[in-house]
Symmetry: D2
Subunit: 267 residues, 4 copies
């Protein structure tokens, strides 16, 4: 029998933190040993997330919590301001950090990598933990090598301010790195309604749909002689990130050094 | 036992005419009695379309063909230039015209209606015989009464010159006739890539995708609290019009007067 | 300026009741005048649903609440056991009932209709308030008259016990009432894996997909010469019923008698 | 400037052969130098496929054609009976074979590989040249490592005899090779209509839809917490194989030895 992985959750009362607590409590291969929150008070972490009492009360101080509970892994979805310091603290205690944020500089990541190496532990920093979204982007880039005619359609709620979405632009960048130079469409094409052909990006088009009821969806369509290939990811809610975090918690036990980007754990 | 409906096909050697000849030969409720073509010569209409000989040779002259074969219905997908005169000829012979074209003036249609009434026969003129496309447009308009947040995405081959497509504009018009006034989206919305939000039409958006391998597809999406409704029509080839023509040939036997628009036969 | 419609919500602390309270508070054409709950205690209805205080505290007794607040409409999503009595009480007070349940007998509906008539008020009892789902079913039945080749695919969460879903069976019934008799598929068709062709219903097939992450989705696909027509409804969460309830609250003000089935309000 | 690749097409008057001839004539990087057919007579290969005259008349004898035209590559979509002998002949002439068939034994492939090696030329034998379908299968297998909850829906014309399709079974096999053991769904699940949950394959389900108007489509759906990932391939016609053949003709110039399976050229 394998030992369970001992997990500490930082920012346990935040929107993402609660989802992480739930996920840890629901996986028999994991055990919650600490839950840190600076705002939620002296209550049981299980009760906080609408589950039975877990026996783990919320802690106020990260360092104390790591010292007394000796976790294998710390999961941190707090603010960009706090995570760098939290990550240093974790590594000092020999605890593997799994961090969801975009706020680190390359120099910070390099430094954290060295610290992880010196303690012989792994770590992960990732801006996106949605396995489905990462697979969509990876497959889209790979398909564009063989089927270079492509368009992207992304769907979000009707109150979103910016178009196109960050994920669609990231997808377009990944495609552009590997796709042959190609200006698609008929050179004499004319729009009778301006904008109907979508936004132009490096030879192809991105279309942004905004409708109430939609959370976040994206479809990448490839066309060729007599066929189309579609890769579509539909995200319905925040909990969609949890399978990625779960995988990260398990994989971070198996390597040494700090890795940036969840996609590098998907071999 | 019901008698078969006797059908004459005009422009039998054209792209649409051949499909009509095939359709008539394949339906046991119909019988081909004449096939007129001014270019294809003295051959059997069945052989012309890759089927066994039908016993009907192509005729050169419409009036002679109608006189000798006494059809119940004439189907005409020839040129806008020719159909008006053909339709007059058919009605004079007491033959019900089923015509696929957009070239008639309102005055011509009114005159042809009177002629049909005076002969106590039915007739049909229709710009679109695709039952699926007509249902899509009808349902889209109806849905927009209850779910006014809507966007249209249409897909065509990458060599198409104009965007958006005629069908998508027709759909947008039908929606606009019944949908409440509504300017969708966040008023502060910004495009970081121009055109990504698509073409603006009366408060909502139309997106035109152009990819090789696609013939003609359209999806109308409605969004509301926690739900989306999608109505999608995929057209793969010209033969998709034939079920509509088939229905028209049968329905035109059951009423008196000239009807404009296939949708009026779909009660 | 039109007067606001005064609404009482019964079962205000239940899962659906909370959504109704939220919906009423968010619509400027409606005003919340009473919220009845037998379990939630003496708190403000707005606070209960995570909104600012509404000035309406939860009431314990329905009859008292209706007497003192004089609502125009009562919305009731409580248990099948309770709704009949609640509905009688509402009508006695001249309050129009909008009820979401399946538990009434035809005799009860008839009796409630007479009572509504005698008080000259409207009422609505409906098993399904999802406008999108009702439109999907309506359009599917209508399309099957013209494109009789049809299959249904429905998607639900992987822990759902029964297959196919109630909505898919209801859709199949509505299709069967209007579609011509037709046994689809090749008569010599063989399944090399049993069940792969789905469940047989009156000549066509129903397929039930069960996957984690899915709430409730259904697609009805029609096939014909060279084309397909798809009608798809995706339901992402419970709140998807609220636009229907909102419409019902407004429409029930405009007619007399008890109507069964929300679709009859969609003319 | 790169030299054009000289191509010979065997079985040039067959359904696939004609598509290959067209494809070669349309690509400026390729030049047609021979077209062999044992049935079509002494006509120009371009005229045969509805294009302008190509200057290449159909040949009757393969060996003579290869001897006089000295092609770089031979493309062969003839019968399983003929291809082995054709492939031997090509290699003897130092011509790279690109062969679309399933009829070879492992021993034959090994022998042909040795012969290619000894002549220092490449060769390819592939049962499926649809790039889109191959990408779909590859991505589906890869996704199942990360999102093990999966179902397959495949769509074909309503006269197809067998269900599920060969491609869906191949996809299910590839998924099973890498996916963790998992019996999906609720163990207490019950079908009220037998077969509605589809065909069972190694813990997951395959659904076969059969409708007129559909050529060949497949969707592989993965579900996880709050998200779904879909990979869909729509094949509209035979010409959909040509981009794969085109790639093969170019890649076969770049390696030595016989490769089995087009997917191995997609690195």
């Amino acid at each position: 029998m394998t030992d369970k992985i001992k997990v500490a959750v930082i920012g346990a009362s935040g929107r993402m933190g609660r989802e992480v607590v739930k996920m840890v409590l629901e996986d028999e291969a994991l055990t919650l040993v600490a839950a840190v929150s600076q705002s939620a008070g002296d209550i049981d972490a299980g009760l906080l997330v609408g589950k039975p009492a877990s026996g783990v009360k919320l802690s106020f101080n990260l360092s104390d919590a790591l010292h007394s509970s000796k976790p294998d892994v710390m999961v941190d979805f707090t603010t960009p301001q706090a995570v760098y310091s939290n990550t240093l603290t974790a590594i000092e205690h020999g605890v593997r950090p799994v961090v969801g944020t975009t706020g680190f500089t390359p120099e910070q990541i390099e430094e954290l990598d060295k610290l992880c190496q010196s303690r012989s532990i792994g770590g992960l920093i990732a801006p996106n933990f949605s396995i489905g979204a990462l697979l969509m982007m990876k497959f889209a880039a790979e398909a564009s090598k063989y089927m270079p005619h492509v368009e992207i359609i992304e769907y979000h709620g009707d109150q979103k301010l910016d178009a196109p979405s960050g994920t669609s632009i990231k997808t377009a960048e990944l495609i552009s790195e590997v796709r042959e130079e190609l200006r698609q469409g008929n050179p004499k094409e004319e729009e009778t309604i301006e904008g109907s052909r979508g936004g132009y990006y490096n030879g192809f088009r991105i279309h942004s749909v905004r409708l109430p009821g939609v959370f976040a969806q994206q479809e990448v369509i490839f066309g060729g002689y007599g066929q189309t290939l579609k890769i579509r990811h539909d995200s319905y809610e925040r909990a969609g990130y949890m399978p990625g975090v779960n995988t990260a918690v398990k994989k971070v036990m198996t390597y040494t050094g700090m890795i940036y980007g969840f996609e590098h754990l998907m071999d």
